[in-house]
Symmetry: C7
Subunit: 94 residues, 7 copies
Amino acid sequence: MTIKPLADKVVVKVEEAEQTTASGIVLSTSAQEKPAFATVVAVGPGGVVDGEKVEMTVKVGDKVVTSKYSGTEIKLDGEEYTIVSQSDILAIVE
Amino acid sequence: MTIKPLADKVVVKVEEAEQTTASGIVLSTSAQEKPAFATVVAVGPGGVVDGEKVEMTVKVGDKVVTSKYSGTEIKLDGEEYTIVSQSDILAIVE
Amino acid sequence: MTIKPLADKVVVKVEEAEQTTASGIVLSTSAQEKPAFATVVAVGPGGVVDGEKVEMTVKVGDKVVTSKYSGTEIKLDGEEYTIVSQSDILAIVE
Amino acid sequence: MTIKPLADKVVVKVEEAEQTTASGIVLSTSAQEKPAFATVVAVGPGGVVDGEKVEMTVKVGDKVVTSKYSGTEIKLDGEEYTIVSQSDILAIVE
Amino acid sequence: MTIKPLADKVVVKVEEAEQTTASGIVLSTSAQEKPAFATVVAVGPGGVVDGEKVEMTVKVGDKVVTSKYSGTEIKLDGEEYTIVSQSDILAIVE
Amino acid sequence: MTIKPLADKVVVKVEEAEQTTASGIVLSTSAQEKPAFATVVAVGPGGVVDGEKVEMTVKVGDKVVTSKYSGTEIKLDGEEYTIVSQSDILAIVE
Amino acid sequence: MTIKPLADKVVVKVEEAEQTTASGIVLSTSAQEKPAFATVVAVGPGGVVDGEKVEMTVKVGDKVVTSKYSGTEIKLDGEEYTIVSQSDILAIVE
């Protein structure tokens, strides 16, 4: 499978609401809360978006927090993904 | 038939909600979900749109994911098409 | 009769919902659908609109698709016309 | 009486809904339709508006079509006028 | 009393709805109509507003027409004034 | 106590609705009217805000009129203050 | 734990509604008031945001006032944090 996001788009896979990371951190988002912990699975090339040059600063494999209400959900080969703009990614969790 | 989109417009044909691609991927969008898998059938020339130079990065035949709520549906010669701005195309699926 | 659109404005005549073009294409827009097939009857000079230089790319006689909800309807000499901005024209049909 | 519009403002006098022009055209706007046939009675000097240089292209005496919902109505010396921005004028009818 | 408007702000005193000017013009705004005839009582220094250079073109004593819904009403020393942006002033009446 | 507003923010203390200034002016804002007479208690450093250079023109001690609906109310050490952007300050009263 | 905010994002920990600072100031925000006293726990690198260069002026450990309705709440390792844009931080309290 290859999904290639355009421009400043990023494809992420939303994680289960509660999980323990390698470093032992418990990540949790209640089901009714919109912000999501997610893993980056594909990153667009960046470039000019709305007339502004966008450099991509996230990379595949990053654990990220995305903002509320953002993104378009798609289902590919039975798996659910969310496509967001990089500006909807608030932080990287390590 | 010739339909020539203007500026940054792209004409796409929305695919059936579930289908299997050449590489065996099952693509599905439930009927009540707005994002669409679509095939590009015509691409505008790009150029200056709202004062910003837009380069076209999709091409005829690309399988794409378009964003929610976007596009204008038209019927041409009995077939339904959707005209979207390129910025409403989130990703290419291969 | 002379109607001279200003700036990036274009005067179009909306076609009947269903018609057959010279090349035999059946064009149809259901009555309840807003996008319209229309014929360009007058084109503004372009120039600076909202601080951006606009070049006119449609010409009198073009068969066009206009976007939903756009335009101002006027009645001139018993005939109905619609005045739209060129950016509300999505594609040319030939 | 002197009314001097500022910047890109234009003072117009809305015409009766139906009238016949010198060239015999019947102009009509039904009472419930907002776009108006109007005659320009005063034109502002143009200049920088919202940071963009605006050149005035209409002149006193022009018969114009103004867009829906635009303008501020005033009463001067018993006569009703409407003050619009030039960008709310869609076309000149001759 | 000194009230010094900042930036592109202008302090005006709204006139009675109906009055006769020196040149005999009857000015009237019905009570339920929002646009107002007003007299300029103080003018800000202009300068950069929202990143755009604004030059003040009205002066103290000007009779002006202000746009609908604009301005902040204040009471100073028993008198009511309205503070508007210069761009809310549509025309000068002489 | 030190409160240091950032960027173009200004901390003001809203005055009682009616008071007499040194020069004998009675200032009043009815309780249900939103514009406020206030005294500036701290001024941000200015700088680039939304990509525009902002110079601070009010200073500590200025009596100002702020616009309707603006500002964030905070309580510090039992006293209530409002933090506004300088662009929400309409005029200085002396 | 490491949380790395992107661009102009700042991670803050909202303080209890009432507390006494080292210098003896009682800080309070009633439960129903949205503005928050918070402590900065992580600061993004700044850079170009929406085409504008943003310099970060807050630092880890700063006590800040954030604006109403802003921010995305997350829970990390059992603790609640809020991610805001730096422009949502109104002032630093010392």
